[in-house]
């Protein structure tokens, strides 16, 4: 099984996004390096807009992650409510 990952700039804007991902993906592991936070998960990782909205306390457009996204791996499925990274079908 291979890992998917997503990485963000480590700042106050990305913190609630990272926290949301960790809450929704129990197998996810978070690693910090200077300026960067990387989240690995086996095979699949889902980001839910609703979870982020609960964290930030305002409406959140999922595409806002572009402001702090650094890199990712895996196939992407995206709509207004979720972004999923996965390997295989």
């Amino acid at each position: 099984m291979s890992n998917v990952f997503i990485a963000f700039q480590a700042n106050e804007d990305s913190r609630p996004i990272v926290d949301s991902i960790v809450a929704d993906n129990p197998l996810a592991e978070v690693v910090y390096s200077p300026g960067l936070v990387k989240i690995d998960a086996p095979n699949r990782l889902v980001i839910h807009r609703e979870t982020i909205e609960q964290e930030v306390g305002r409406d959140f457009d999922l595409q806002e992650i572009h402001l702090n996204l650094v890199t990712l791996s895996g196939h992407i499925d995206e709509d207004d409510d979720q972004l999923t990274l996965s390997w295989g079908h």
Partner: protein, 519 residues
């Protein structure tokens, strides 16, 4: 009569479809094949463009909004950096030479990518692919501009950054990135996507960006870090285009598989060879080191690449042919490259130096099987000669590989004490290569590579002197004439860091204090 219209907002996928694909049409005044003349000749078969899944559905409205926000933040940081003399915060002025290499060799590639994606963004029949390429073209122009802006502050204070466009088209080592991208740009649109979107922007991208950006962070170069992070979110869109295009091509027709495989083989190897410059930068040009090239290769190529090619097995794709040799090279290429630039520093507009004893210890630790055995003796010797006032500069032009255009510095796989020589005869002439893989790239498309503008060969043809030069005049110095043609400031842009104006200036600006520099 007013009918009450339900104002329901379209979801992301239909919204994106409406604003992009649905704006395309099948032409009726001209045949589609005439309007899009380039997307069949490569032999790639596309049966249904509707199966193209848009990577990252950013409509233009969302694009401008988020890119605009990123730009505001980035330029605020660049301004602050300039106002606060951020260039003094750099730990060691040797680091600036990594930036010189970047603006000379990487930034022009952003511009090439801008042009290349603009071109393919016109030539696919599929609207989804055209839109994705057009947006990437704007991203790449943004990268070129933001890199120039970021580095422009350093240009006010350090040598070697003022003439990069002129150098890109002429200076010997810059033909390596130039020929890489021109090879891609002169291929068809599908090859361009596999070469750049997939092989470069997906498979190898982290090996370019992470070393430069984390190197910048560790060495106090905050404006480059900021640029890097600002660009990286664009890069993640590019990555998704790369993975989508490979999936799409492989799923459209089994006949595409061998064509795509050949391109993956070619472009993995060309990209790997291009990364030689990054490997050297990472191991030798960062006074505060992050991780070794070997470690970066193991993390970003071997682990990630392993996962990726496992996923592509189901299409009948195997890992690239050069994979094993590239992995074997991880213990060597940075040292081989630094040795090249150290010894040819008379002709390169950035500074080099011998690693100090602490740095040699780090290199020995990170490369336990190779550094002390093959490379340390040379650097120790160079340090000794420099101290004796005889700093070694190689003054004989090197043999270049016909394809990657790098001097033939790479070793025979399995035999690190020996240079790898490969050759072939074509149309009455001999051609030479650094490896089996560059040779195979040549033999698959010889008509392309016999046209290569090889810097050394062009110098010997007399094509690299300033206009009006008379090579028959008494006292003519060809090497000096070449440096003139390069428009390098001899004695300022080139030669050892230890004796450079950069070093003198930086020491003065920091009140006469500096970190230990060899020799």
């Amino acid at each position: 009569m007013d009918a009450k219209v339900t104002n329901k907002k379209l979801g992301l996928k239909p919204r994106y479809q409406t604003m992009t694909r649905d704006l395309g049409w099948t032409t009726s005044y001209q045949y589609m094949d005439k309007v899009f003349p380039y997307d069949k000749y490569e032999g790639i078969k596309i049966h249904d463009w509707d199966n193209w899944e848009d990577p990252f559905r950013l409509t233009m409205e969302a694009y401008w909004k988020y890119q605009g926000e990123k730009e505001k933040k980035l330029y605020a940081v660049i301004d602050a950096f300039a106002q606060n003399n951020g260039q003094l915060g750099v730990a060691d002025a040797r680091y600036i030479n990594a930036l010189k290499l970047f603006v000379q060799g990487v930034s022009p590639l952003e511009y090439c990518a801008h042009r290349g994606f603009a071109h393919v963004g016109r030539h696919f029949t599929g609207v989804g692919a055209r839109v994705a390429a057009q947006m990437q073209s704007i991203d790449e122009l943004r990268h070129y501009q933001t890199q120039i802006h970021t580095i422009s502050n350093y240009n006010k204070y350090f040598d070697g950054m003022h003439n990069s466009n002129h150098w890109f088209d002429r200076v010997w080592y810059l033909s390596v990135p130039k020929s890489f991208f021109e090879d891609a740009m002169s291929g068809g649109p599908f090859e361009f996507l596999v070469a750049i979107s997939f092989s470069f922007e997906y498979v190898l991208t982290n090996l370019l960006f992470v070393p430069f950006m984390s190197g910048a962070a560790h060495n106090g170069d905050m404006s480059t870090v900021t640029f890097g992070f600002s660009a990286q979110s664009d890069e993640s869109r590019h990555m998704t285009l790369g993975i989508e295009c490979i999936k799409f091509l492989l799923e459209q027709d089994p006949a595409n598989v061998p064509i795509v495989q050949r391109w993956i083989d070619k472009w993995f190897w060309r990209g790997y060879r291009l990364l030689t410059l990054v490997a050297m930068m990472q191991d030798y040009m960062l006074p505060k080191r992050v991780m070794s090239w070997k470690e970066a290769w193991e993390m970003y190529a071997e682990s990630n690449g392993g996962a990726l090619f496992k996923d592509l097995e189901r299409y009948g794709i195997r890992p690239p042919k050069g994979w094993q040799d590239a992995c074997e090279g991880k213990d060597h290429i940075s040292h081989q490259a630094w040795n090249t630039f150290y010894t040819y520093n008379a002709a390169a507009p950035f500074h080099t130096w011998t690693p100090n004893p602490e740095e040699m210890d780090w290199l020995s630790e990170k490369y336990p099987d190779t550094f002390a055995q093959y490379y340390k003796p040379r650097f120790e010797y160079y340090g000794k000669k420099h101290q004796e006032g005889e700093r070694f500069y190689n003054t004989t032009l090197p043999m270049l590989c016909q394809v990657c255009q790098i001097p033939m510095v790479f070793h025979e796989p399995g035999d690190p004490g020996s240079i790898c020589y490969r050759e072939t005869d074509h149309d009455g002439d001999k051609y030479h290569f650094c490896s089996d893989h560059c040779k195979e790239i040549f033999t698959n498309e010889p008509e392309k590579y016999v046209q290569a503008w090889l810097p050394v060969n062009q110098i010997y043809q007399g094509n690299c002197f300033p206009e009006g030069t008379d090579p028959t005049a008494p006292g003519f110095d060809p090497l000096a004439a070449v440096l003139d043609y390069y428009e390098m400031e001899v004695g300022r842009d080139n030669f050892d860091f230890a004796d450079s104006q950069d070093r003198k200036n930086f020491r003065e600006w920091n009140g006469g204090v500096e970190e230990e520099v060899s020799p």
